[in-house]
Each structure stands twice: as C-alpha cells, then as structure tokens.
Symmetry: D2
Subunit: 377 residues, 4 copies
C-alpha cells in the first residue's frame, strides 16, 4: 500500500526575493523538488493589499522550484499551494516552510499504526462574487475541505488540526460583474475593515471548514449569521483571501495511520491576545510533553507553529480596556502581538503568524486558532 511521509523544513529569507536557503535545501537532496506540495511563509512588507513582497517572493520561489522541475514558474502555481502572508512586524522572522510529501510503498502488515502527520489538498469549484461571505461560498468550501480530508486519508474529523484555505475576495471588478448579472454582493467595502470583503471572504471560508468538520451544523447557518453569530466558528481554520482567485485552495493537516511522517500536528486556541497558554495547548496536543514551559530540548522538536491573531470583538481583556480594536495600525500591532505570544514559547522567531482581522469565525469569539507541528521520537 502507498503510505505518505510528510516533511517540513523552515528556510529563512533575507528579503522577499531571497531564495538561497530554499534553493540550497532542494539542491542538497534533502527534499525532492517533485515532492513539494506547499510553501507557507511570511514575507517582509506592510502585509496590506499593496505590499509587493508577497508577489515578489511568490514569483521567485516558484521560479527556483520550476527550474528544478524543468517547468515554467507559472506552471508551478497549479502544483504547489503558495500560502504567503506579508508583515513581519515585531519578532516574526521572514521565512518559508517547505512542506513535502512522499508516497512510499509499504507492505500492509508493515504499515505503522501510530497516527502521524498526514496532509491533504483540494481545489474547490469556482466561487462567484455574489456567493462570497454567504452560504454559497460556505457550501463550496465545505465540499473542498471534505475532499482534502479524504485526500489526507483522515476518516475522523477530530484528527484534523489545521485547515488552511486561500480563496477569492471581492474586487471592484468582480462586484461590477455580479451586479451586471443582476446579483447582489455582501458588501461594497473591499477593505480589510470590520465590514470589508476580506473579512467576509475569510469568514465564509472558515465557516466552510466548520461545516465540513462538523463543528457547526449547516442548519445553524444563514447568510445573516456570517460576521454576526460569533459562537459559530472553526477552531482549526486559518483562512486568507486573495485578489484574482476564482476558487478556493485547501490544505489540511491532521494525524492518521498509516503515516511514515516523523511529525505530529496539534492545535489549541488563543483565547485572548495575552493567552500564551493557548500556544502551549497546541504544542501538547501535537505530542510535546512538558510541564509549564518547554525546555530547550522540547523547543528543538518544534517544527512550526501556524497561528492567527484576530483582533477581539471586545476591547476588554482580563478586566482592562485595550485599544487594538480602534487602532488604525492594528494590522501592525496584532501581528506583533501574535508573533511574541508564539515565539516566547517556541524560542524561535521563524513562526507563521498572521492576523489582524476584526473578529472572525476563525477561532472562538475574541480568540484565534493556533496549530503546531512537532517532531516525534
């Protein structure tokens, strides 16, 4: 039988166009270029929609990989999930996590029975502008998430610990398109603000995850519930929305057997912006056993943490008012906060932390999702 073996390597980047560590990784033979399934990373820049760091890194990383595969960088797009997030504020070190998956033929009797990291991928059908932030998007994403879970070889949704979704948002052009067809859109605000399309798109995707994993019954959902009923959420969805995308791209991380991976994934919830315990819960959930804080040896086993830091809907944290919700620079501060929260536990600034959304169905009300991948044995 074919059994998957997943590996992750974190490569630092000296600037968005710096692919030297990534190239060296491929050229060292440690990772077969053909086995790369996803590049997940943080790039320097503002992290706003007009930050070209993401686009430059995306282009250069695909170029380097394409050269090894003998294909053009544009052909890499359909093969590898590119999930880059801009904004390395505070202590977040620019990097890319190279996720690779090999398929190994194993005699059924010899297949390992201990659950270990598996990944699955899927692309959704097209999502129309009029569906974004509404049931249409939710249902279409849910179908793709179920497919990705199946691709991962996971049968119990409880074994899924992280679902990354990248899908379409609204743009002036797509709004015009929808309205020309007699449709309405959920918002005319294309920003990342409280009523912005980015938030609606991210949250529609998050609810799609929640439905697929059974975290929310579809019957509880309606168009009106999106960005309103915050108790409907996925604890494992981290989603982002991009410009000209037409469909959603889904990457699922879970634990299952058989898997030849020497990695395990787990998750937790960051309940408020100072809840460092949420990060520890994720690490323990991934199998890292430690008392109050991980030791250096424990930290050496942490491969990567994937987290969001959502701006809470309430401005009260442990009885004190914070200003994040009203802060025009929250897109900076929220990432800086999330980065420290994670890196102060892992001891490594090369962490995958994004965020800054104003409340979200990613994670519970006022909270944020966090997943961790840990090396076993």
């Amino acid at each position: 039988m074919r059994v998957q073996q997943v590996e992750m390597h974190v490569c630092s980047m000296a600037r968005p166009s710096d692919t030297s560590e990534f190239a060296a990784l491929l050229d060292s033979g440690a990772v077969d270029p053909a086995s790369v399934v996803s590049l997940v990373g943080k790039t320097e820049g503002t992290g706003l929609h007009d930050d070209s760091g993401r686009e430059l890194a995306d282009l250069r990383l695909r170029e380097v990989l394409g050269q090894r595969l003998g294909i053009h960088r544009d052909e890499v797009t359909g093969r590898v999930s590119m999930i880059l997030s801009g904004g390395c504020y505070g202590v977040i070190s620019p990097h890319v996590t190279v996720i690779s998956r090999r398929w190994v033929e194993v005699a059924p009797a010899a297949a390992p029975t201990t659950p270990a990291l598996v990944i699955g991928r899927a692309y959704s059908d097209d999502i129309f502008p009029e569906e974004i932030g509404r049931l249409g998007q939710i249902r279409t994403v849910a179908v793709a998430v179920r497919a990705a879970v199946a691709d991962a070889g996971i049968t119990d949704p409880a074994d899924v610990h992280c679902v990354m979704v990248k899908g379409p948002s609204l743009s002036p052009a797509s709004i015009r398109d929808a309205e020309a067809r007699g449709q309405t859109v959920v918002t005319h605000d294309v920003s990342v603000g409280v009523s912005g399309a980015m938030c609606y798109a991210n949250d529609g995707a998050a609810l799609g995850v929640a439905v697929a994993l059974g975290e929310v019954p579809e019957s509880a959902l309606s168009d009106a519930a999106v960005r309103r009923d915050w108790h409907l959420y996925s604890a494992v969805a981290t989603t982002s929305a991009g410009g000209e995308k037409r469909h959603a791209e889904v990457l699922v991380l879970g634990n299952a057997a058989p898997s030849l991976s020497a990695l395990r994934v787990g998750h937790g919830v960051i309940r408020d912006p100072i809840d460092v315990e949420g990060v520890k819960v994720a690490l323990r959930s991934a199998g890292l056993a430690f008392g109050c804080c991980p030791s250096s040896e424990d930290q050496a086993r942490i491969v990567q943490v994937f987290a969001k830091l959502v701006v809470p809907g309430s401005d009260m944290v442990r009885g004190r008012r914070i200003t994040l919700r009203e802060d025009a620079t929250a897109y900076i501060s929220a990432k800086a906060v999330g980065g420290v929260l994670v890196a102060s536990v892992t001891g490594d600034p090369g962490v995958m932390v994004s965020g800054g959304e104003q409340n979200s169905h990613q994670g519970p009300p006022d909270g944020s999702p966090v997943a961790a991948v840990v090396r076993t044995g």
Copy 2:
C-alpha cells in the same frame, strides 16, 4: 523615627482625559492627595513627539490632584513626578500608576527590619544643551541619582531596582542657544532615530544612573563612549527625555529597612525581544516565589511592572533575522512586543511598558530593563 510607607494603585483611563478612576481613588480616602509623589502611566496616542495624549493626560491629572490640594495645576508640577509615556499599542491598557508615600512616626525599636519598598526623589541641576549625551549630562544626573538614593534611605546601591529619569533633550531652539554661545552639540538630529537627540539624552541619563550606582566606573566613560560602547550600561535605568525640560527629575525604587510598605521591588533583564524569562526574573527578584509561571494567586500579588523594550542593535535573535531594526514602524511594534512579553506573564494588560529606542545604555547590549513591584504577605 519617621518611616516611609509606599503604596501603588493602578487606575485605568478610558481616554487621555479620563481621570475618573484617579479622582475616585483620591475621593475614596484610600490615598491622601498630599501623599502622591508620582504619577507614572501610559496614554493612548502615537507615542511620538507630536502626540498630544501625554500633554492632555498630564494637564487633567494635575488638575484633579490640584483641586484636592487647593493649588493650581501648574503648582503640582514641582511636587509630583509626572512620568507619562504615549503609545498603547497591542495589549497595553491605558492607565496611570499612582505612587504615594506617607511618613509614619515609629518608635525605633518597633521599626520593621525586613527590607521593603522605599522611594526617593531628586531634581538635578540644570543641564545645558552642549552637555546632553556627553559627560556633562552624565555627571549631573549621577549627582541627582545619588541624592534620590539617599532620599529613599538606601545605603547599598544593590538595593536599587528601578531608576526612572526624565530630563531635557535637544530642540532646534536649544541647539541655536548652545551654538550662539560658541558651544557644540552632540547631534543636529532631534529625532528618535539611531543618531537622534532623544537617544543621546536617554542614554546620557542612563549612564548617569550607571555611574551613581557603581555599575560603570566614571573612568570608563568619555563623550565618545556614549551610544557606542554598549557594554557600559545600567540594568535598572529607564529614562525618557522631554521637550522644554531644563533639569532631570529622578525617581528611585528600592528595598530597604525600615519601611512600612507592603510592597517589594525587584528587577531583571529582557535579554532579547522574546525573552519572557527576564520578566519572571524581575518578579522573583521582587519576592514572588513561583515555579515556571505565576499562578492566578501569584498574579494577584503583582502591582506593576515597569519595562522598556529596546530595539536590539543586532537583527539576529536566536539565529533568525528579525526586521525591527529596519522597520519604520518600530515605535509601534517594539511597544507591542514589550507589552505582550510582560502581560502574558502578569495576566494584566495594565502594564507600564515603553521603548522603541534603537539600542540603548538602558539594559545590556540588545537587552532591556524590567522592574516589578509585588505585594508582600
């Protein structure tokens, strides 16, 4: 004999002009207005030199206290050390810590012998523009720090855990004044940048503290050493520089006997921007006994943490490059980082964290000072 009894209360502020909690504290009888010696706080705003939040809060807090004392708000200035820092980025909750000191007549035999919190204050002689960031400032501040240590009743400099200094910086006007008198100034850059007057002024003050406490021998100092020889530093100085000030104002926190305070102070060093252990060292140094992390009961005994988060001189943190040093918004990110580092340990966002300087003689190379006050018994 007269023995001091220091108390600290943290009052939240809903906006820079909100003095309601402070007024209620005074009116409740919990704090005698005449006993207030310092107001130390964080105000909302950019934290840059043109942020009026500080000035507005300063005016309103003095007004409220002045009303209780029957004096004009302008007369309060000479009586009470006003140490307000702008910029509540991330999780830092706007607040003011009211520091009061009563003198109690105690029979010498009955005086407590366990060291507890004492505070001392002093004003330096005038500091001339040509002295700022040079030996002249350092020596003048050192004299004032020694006076404040004596005022606190501390005889061993090792018992000093926190020295706050607020003094003059350079302005276009003071530079013109110095040059008209045939003097030179250390810089023509009045910004907070790497070669800005704010940094020179803060660092001259920090070295003044270092000399007074014996952390640095005066013989090791020269004009050229300022903002260059980073291994010369004070581990307990947190300094700031303000507009039209002519002299430095010094507030010393230490432990000594006799003291009737139910508080103790301690300090630590934040060695890099993810070094949460530094905060814990400060709390333990103040007498809070806990294992890895403080429990809720432990947290309830923490009264306040006073910290800086200095941007490290190196961009490498635990083997990874961070971007803080090159980030035009480091004045935002650095404060956000420092706030989480402290609040994730104390469990309270009402913490006194400032910073953003590019390297500093406040704390060791790449590090930052942190002091904590904990309730005893």
Copy 3:
C-alpha cells in the same frame, strides 16, 4: 435696525495647547471676547479618532476665552461653535480662525445695501443613533440648517456659500442603546472606512444641508440613497461627526444685505484631486477679481479658505489611475493633497482643509466643496 458685522482672524498655533496668539488677539482689543461665535481650526496630530490634539486645543481655547468672559471653560461650549479638525499633513499650518459677530444699531436708511458676509447658527434637536445615516438625521439637520439660514438673515438659499455641520456619529455605546430599544442602525462599523459610521454621519448631515437649501428634493431621498446615489449632494456642506454629541451644530456663511462686514464669502467645487481651478472659482465667487492666478495683492485680501478633499469614488483621474482609494494612509495623503491645492493658490499655509472620506455627499461625485472668505475694498 440691528445689523451684523462679521470679522475673521487667523491665529497660528505652535502646538495644540498654544493659545498665545488667540489670547493676544483678545487682549489687544481687536476682538471682543463676547463677540466670538466660532473657532474653526486645524490641530496637529494624526487626525484619527484617537488624536488628542483636537481635545487639548479645544480645552485650552475654551479656557482662554472663558477667562475673558468670566465663565468656566465648560460653559463656553454652548456659546461658541468649536470646529477643530486634526491632521496638519504636508503644508497645512496649525491655526485657528476666530469668527466674531457684532450687532450694530443702524438707521434703516443708512443700512448698507451691498450684500456682504453674514453668519447664522443653530442647534438641531437630538438625533437618535437609529436615525444616523438615514432620513431621520437628514430631516433633523435640514430643520436646523433652515434655522441657521434664517439666523443669518439670508432669504435666498443661493446666497449660502458654506454650511459647516458638526453632529453625532455612532459609537459602540449608542449602537447598544439603539438595539436595546429594538431599533436597527445603519452600520456596525464605527470606523471612517467606506462603510463606517463616520461617513454615514457626515453624509446624512450633508444631505440635510442639501435638502434645506433645495439642492436635493426631499422626495429624491430614501435611506437606501445614502452613500449610494452620489449625484445627490450639497455643493456647500462641509460636515464632521464627533464622539458623544447628541445634536448637530450648524454654522452658515453667506452674503446678504444689510451687513456691515468687510468680508464676502464664495464657493466652488474641487472636481478632482488636482483641480486647482475649483479653488480659484471659490475665490472669484467671493469677489476676488483676478486673471489666471491671484497676485500677492490679491492674496493679501484672502482671509480664509474652508475646504474638504474627499477621496474620489473612482481611481481614475484625467485618464490615469491614482492609488488614493486603496491607500491605508489616505487619511494622511488626502489632507496633504488638499492643503497644497489650496495653499498653492492662496500663498498661505494657514488654510482650513480637512477630508479623507471615501466619497461623500459633500460635493459632487469624486469632488469636494471649497469656500473662500475675502476682504472687500
């Protein structure tokens, strides 16, 4: 008969709390403190909702005026319209325009018959949160504008050239209040973004002006038209929305006879962000006769220009795409743009230019209102 005589003086401010020029103006006898009806100005700071510069300047200006009137600064609020706008980006010089109005007894036969500057003021009834950005607000503001026009002694709406309105916006508290009473609100977004309450509040007020002046028939309006049908607008409204306000405050500037003022007002429209001609139209409309550009002598007669610079709804300007609409720092850039547009014509950086709203019913689609006051004779 009683005839009004309006005067305007522009006082520079070295910082938000600097009232020295204003105090000197009052103390010189040039302006009777009792005749001051409005203080309209620009204060240093971010111009965002958490910029304390406005509040500090407001407090200090009222304090200075109150001292001359023998009343507390809080009593000044009900007497004088305080219209302060934060954000002096680019070339906008911090200042306050002191508007005073004296009533002079004149024999009817001796009353001047040439129309000259007259001002009128009014306060609206309370505006409820559920009315903001809807017909309720529009109608209530319209009533107040009509009252202010009458107070000015203007009978023909065509003689009105500038209507400043300051009224309530939505806040989390007022939204909760409305919903507790079973009402809905126009938006849950309290920001200044495309779908933010600030924009709805400013635009409801602008449409109130439009209705009162007959620029838009009330029959053309509906709740759905607000922030959608941009061809409904007032060419003379400049509106702002403030925190805890419950009612709207209206200041009308127009020309009428009899008036003893040595000033005239006019207005124009800035059709796009480089339309310097709009500023010239306003000056000519106010009676300044000049060819292409005003000479130094012409400029010396300009007393003040009151303008907005609204971010156009389209990103195309004269066939080229600009980025203002997508720029997270448009609140900076838009003001900088407006300031230069005006000051490059007037030759004086002490201009009253605010803006940064994303499209608006203030001025025509993509355009902005501009009014000018010029000294006659």
Copy 4:
C-alpha cells in the same frame, strides 16, 4: 555624422508587476527595444527601503525588455539605467517613462541647428564606503557627470537641465568592511533621517553634479560642508542611493545641436513646498510658452516632469509654521505635496516626483529641483 534622436513614452502600470503597456509599446514598433536607454518610474508601495514594489517592477520590466532583446533580465541591468522610485502617495499615478535614443546618420550640412533634447550616460568608478558623503564620492561622481555630459554631446554646462544619479549608500555590511580596513564612515545611521546615510549619499552625489557643472567650485567643498553648507547645491541634480551598488550611474538631460529629438528639456526650482511657480518656470524653460497657466493644448505638449520635493530645513513657509520637518510620516506627505504641485499644473497625474529627504544639496536651501520635457512643434 551620427545625430541622436531621443524619445520618451509614459506607460501606466496597474501594479508593480504590470508591464502590459510597456510590452505593448515595444511590440507596436513605436520603440525599438534596442534603443531603450533608461526606464524611469514610480512604483506603488511605501517607498521605504523595505518596499518590494521597486524590486518587483525592476525585475519584470527587465524581463520584458530582455525577452525582446534575446538576453536574460540580469544582462539588461548593465545596458539600461533603471531609475525607479517607490511611493505613489496622493495623486501620483504609477508609471514608467521609457527613454529611448536612436542614432541617425545625417549629412553634416543637413544636421539641425536648433538645440533639442540630448541625453548622455556614464558609470563612475567604484565608490568606497569611506568616501560616501565626503569629497571622495563628490570627486568620483563629478568625473562621471563630465563623461555623461560629453556623451550627450553637450559642451556648455548651462545646457544641462537634469542630472539623475543613482549610486551606493552605506549598509551595515559596507560599514563593517570599511572599518575592518581601518577607515571611518561619515555616519553609522543607515536610515533616511537627518543624519542618515541615504541623505549623505544623495547629497554627495548632488555635490558631484554641482562640481562637474561648475555650480560649486571644488575649492568651496570639504567633508565638513556636506549636509551643512546648504548654499552649496546643484539646481539640476536629482539623486538616489541604493543598496548593493558599488558605483554611480549617471543620466544627463540637456539641449544641444545637432539633435533630431522633437523634445526639449528645461528646469526650475521649487522654492518652498507651495511654490507652484517653480514648476511653471521649468516648463517655460523647456520652451512651453504660456501666460499664467498652461492651457489644455499646452498641457498636451508636456511629456514628463522630473521633480523632488525636499523637506525644507526651516519649518516656516511664507510666515507660517508647517509640520513636515517633525512629521514621522513626511516620507508620505512630502511626496503627496510634490505630486499635486506638479500635476495641478500639468493636468496629468503620471508625474515623476520623489523626495522626502530632510533638506538637501539637491536644489537651493529649502527648495527642490524640477525639470520638464516638452514636445516641440
């Protein structure tokens, strides 16, 4: 004899990676790819050193040109001067000006005798870190400027109207290199602040231009004069400094005969940030005859304006204080101001305006250089 014919085309860019108009220009046959000598443009982004928009645009533009030339994008670097400036704040429309130069064989008797646009290019010798902002850099740049003037076929320096220089700045690495060789550097501040290396590098280059053109006698210069004696300046230098550059790249624009260009260049000086007259002087200097303001027909003949908007050394403009000098966001505001100043005259937002330096030897004290290219006949 060989006579040059220079052409300029302005291509809009929908985002930094959008090369569609540039590619169409090349593919239309209007411009021979081999004749392109320089691409000068504005790219979207922060305009700060970590803005990747410039790098992305640079890469894509070279790629498109390289494809037409049959060479790799990296080989384009040595052939074509790439002068891209980030930051399209306010009304500045993202674009690239394609400058091409053909050499046409003409019988000497038939060569036109009316001076028209000529361009010249040169590369300087290597500039060492210890030379930057000092006489070493000034002299090396001056040699290259003289070579570029000669390459342009200009004999009288008065015929030079615009000199663009792009050269090296200091970096942490180059500072370490210099100091390892026992050399000193002019500053340790690598920022763009008042005492930053970027300003020193730009100003050393500007003084190199001034020396080469005889605007400043070399005898008046010394290391100490740089960024101090502001009356030493070039009226035609616009300079920028880049990362890993080792030598300076010089592009000279002037008028001379014989030239087959249908273009003329001229220049003026923007004396303060509202001095719109300086832009008009540049246009008239280029041969555009108009009264007070250019008409639509006049505007149609304007091909491009190249300008800087330097933050004045004084904060007083026409008797009023402006805040640009103290503004942490001056890198935004200064560009927004410069853009409007130019575009309000040309009627076209596609203008090449950069700036934000704190005072400069580019242009007179408090002023900025501006050059214009106008179509003749």
